[in-house]
Amino acid sequence: MIAEAGLAALWLAAALAGLQLLFGIMGVSSGRAELLAAVRPVAVVQAVLTALAFAILIYLFVTVDLSVALVVANDASTKPLLYKFAGTWGNHEGSMLMWVTILAVAGGGVALFERRLNERTLIATLAAQAAIGLGFYAFLLFASNPFARIDPAPAEGQGLNPLLQDPGLAFHPPTLYLGYVGLSVAFSFAVGALITRDVGAAFAKAMRPWVLGAWILLTLGITAGSYWAYYELGWGGWWFWDPVENASLMPWLAATALLHSVTVLATREGLRAWTVMLAVVAFSMSMVGTFLVRSGILTSVHAFAVDPKRGSFILALLAIYIGGALALFGLRVGTVREGSRFDAVSREGALVINNLLLSAILGIVLVGTLYPLMAEAVTGEKLSVGPPYFNTAAGPLALVLVAVMMAGPVMRWRRDDLKAVLTRMAIPLLVAAIVLLLVVLLAPGIGILPLLGLVAAGGVGLGSLAPLWKRNLRRTPLFTWGMVIAHLGIAVSMGGMAAESAFTKETLVAAQMGESHRVGPYTIRLDDVQPVAGPNFTAVEASITAQRGSNAPFTLHPQTRTFPSPPAETNEAAITTVLDGQLYVVVGKSDEAGRWQLRLWWKPFVTLIWAGGALVALGGLLSLIGRVRREMRHAPAERYA
């Protein structure tokens, strides 16, 4: 009964989305007040019903209801509670339901809280949000019903992919999805504004908190995903340019560009068409990402294997939404008034360069991700595009971008003087020069990209603080603090990436018991290997003593885990974090002579990569709080003016 209730709630929500779209279209075209007034409540009820359906699915997973096919395929009564819970979205159907839920709840949120936009544009926005929702409801109800029953009910479920049984991963998809779907709201705002030809500061200000929120969550998601891959896959790398990783990076790049251009539109009424375009592109990248991960057309360690029927369904949705939005853009954007003018040397100018560089990097990642697909279509040969392409193509652009990042915040809006800008950047440039000198002297031959990365990290680290220079810090607005901290975070991350790639030490050994090996500043001794049993896996666990110089020795316990259902093996690296880096140890197979394979890494300052990511997200959060607070202070006045 409960599963049927979930399905019923989903059908009702879908029907309401249809109603929302219909009322929206009729209301906007006729201007009839009662139709316009009906859209907001419908959006809210739709959100409640979808959330109810999702809550029911969670309940079915937590109680392990084995009469539901999805539960049987992804759950088991032996699983720890957290993973029963997380199992709800650790599969295709559940994650699509989560996607729709977030989409509907975001739409409900817009309906409840958005007050600054003129009513027709807002209703057009809600209609666009309903249109996106309808496609995904159809996808769920016709191609991926999460509530389908199985008869007869089996005695036990099949469990969850062991790679997904990790607390980090339990909350990783929701974070990313919230980010992806937050961008759907920006997309709907753009479509709404195009329909009513109302692309202006109010539109930008309404859209900005959603972009900011989505961007914060994407930043967190990517950072957490990177750390997850680093410690869970046991490969010792933090970014693999895997299609699924790229699928989350591409919307982030577009959202970053959008975040900056929307500020130009909100403050200076400039970059109208470009901002609308980016809003469309950002959500398109979310959907393209979903499609790539879901359709099974790209090979990846994290891709869900899904049949081509579902792939075709998502492809059709992509065609309708992205194609439709781009066509609307082509038809309407010509009638959007051009924005305010500005000089090349100005804050706007720097932001335009930022946007162009981000778009170029986005293009590089997109082409690299899709190239294998295109090559196979043309030549029939399978190939993969690896880090060498991405690093050499995107790396230099990222460095230029970071240099622009140093200049942008100290430039004035509308018009500035190049000499004055350089004077304001004097100290950061000096620091960059000192870093360059130090690195060249102390670590010659580390490679040009890591070298420039360290230099840029030093310069930008200081340069990002420049906007606070000679300011009353207590009266500096929160969103300025946010920008400063986010930019500082980029510098910190960049420093971590450069240090890791320049100074990592790696040792692969076949170790006898009691034998000592060296990696970086550490001495490692293999003491023992024992089988251990976990709640739903068995493992071999090594005991390893590590010692740095004459410091106190400590013990590490890397494991190789074997899961029976479904059969799979995972590496649990043992990672020790110290102030200046991480020691990373993986135990592998044994050979006939009783030696055990050990992979040892010393990764100096690698943690800065993720600490920087967290700083970037924190900066975004401060900005968001600052913006929302300011709007709440100003909004009532505007509303009754």
Partner: protein
């Protein structure tokens, strides 16, 4: 010029859609083929996976006639599904050699008793080392090896009834 720029995103998107659609139509892109096709079997010597049957070493596989090397395990559900097809191939005179992954003799014995035993020899690969050397990503997986011990073809996943004719002709071609 401005007109063209406005429509450029849509044009680019349509081009991508064509590629996507193409990717969906060619469905076999789900698996990664082994890099070893056209190359000799890696060197290995596996102990007998089960009492009363010989183990398997790579030198035996260069025995002058084409054959199948089937990677399987008693704990593998799709392996049960492909058992009738393996039996049919063995009946037709195809020499089949097995590599049992992470298995125990008693489990293996039960599996063969229930599903039939088409194997001339079974090597026990207790820690997947040969499986990894072969670039195989899971069980079951089957390789067609010619008389000189060169891998000719890789079949990923269970052998279904409709795959049998293709395998037979590939074996004939490997002569």
């Amino acid at each position: 010029m401005r007109k063209l720029l406005i429509w450029l995103p849509l044009a680019m998107f349509l081009a991508f859609m064509v590629v996507f659609a193409g990717g969906l139509i060619s469905p076999e892109s789900k698996t990664i083929p082994s890099k070893l096709i056209g190359k000799p079997m890696p060197q290995f010597a596996l102990p007998a996976g089960i009492a009363g049957k010989p183990g398997l070493s790579s030198t035996e596989l260069a025995n002058g006639q084409p054959h199948l090397v089937n990677i399987f395990a008693s704990w593998c559900i799709p392996c049960i599904q492909e058992a009738p097809q393996l039996a049919q191939l063995a009946q037709a005179g195809v020499p089949i050699y097995g590599i049992a992954i992470r298995d125990r003799p008693e489990d293996l014995g039960r599996f063969l008793a229930r599903n039939g035993d088409p194997y001339r020899a079974i090597g026990g690969d207790a820690n997947s080392s040969v499986q990894i050397a072969l670039g195989s990503s899971g069980v079951p997986e089957t390789f067609i090896v010619d008389g000189k011990g060169i891998i000719r073809r890789q079949h990923i996943g269970a052998i279904n009834p409709e795959d049998v004719p293709g395998l037979m002709s590939a074996l004939a071609a490997a002569k």
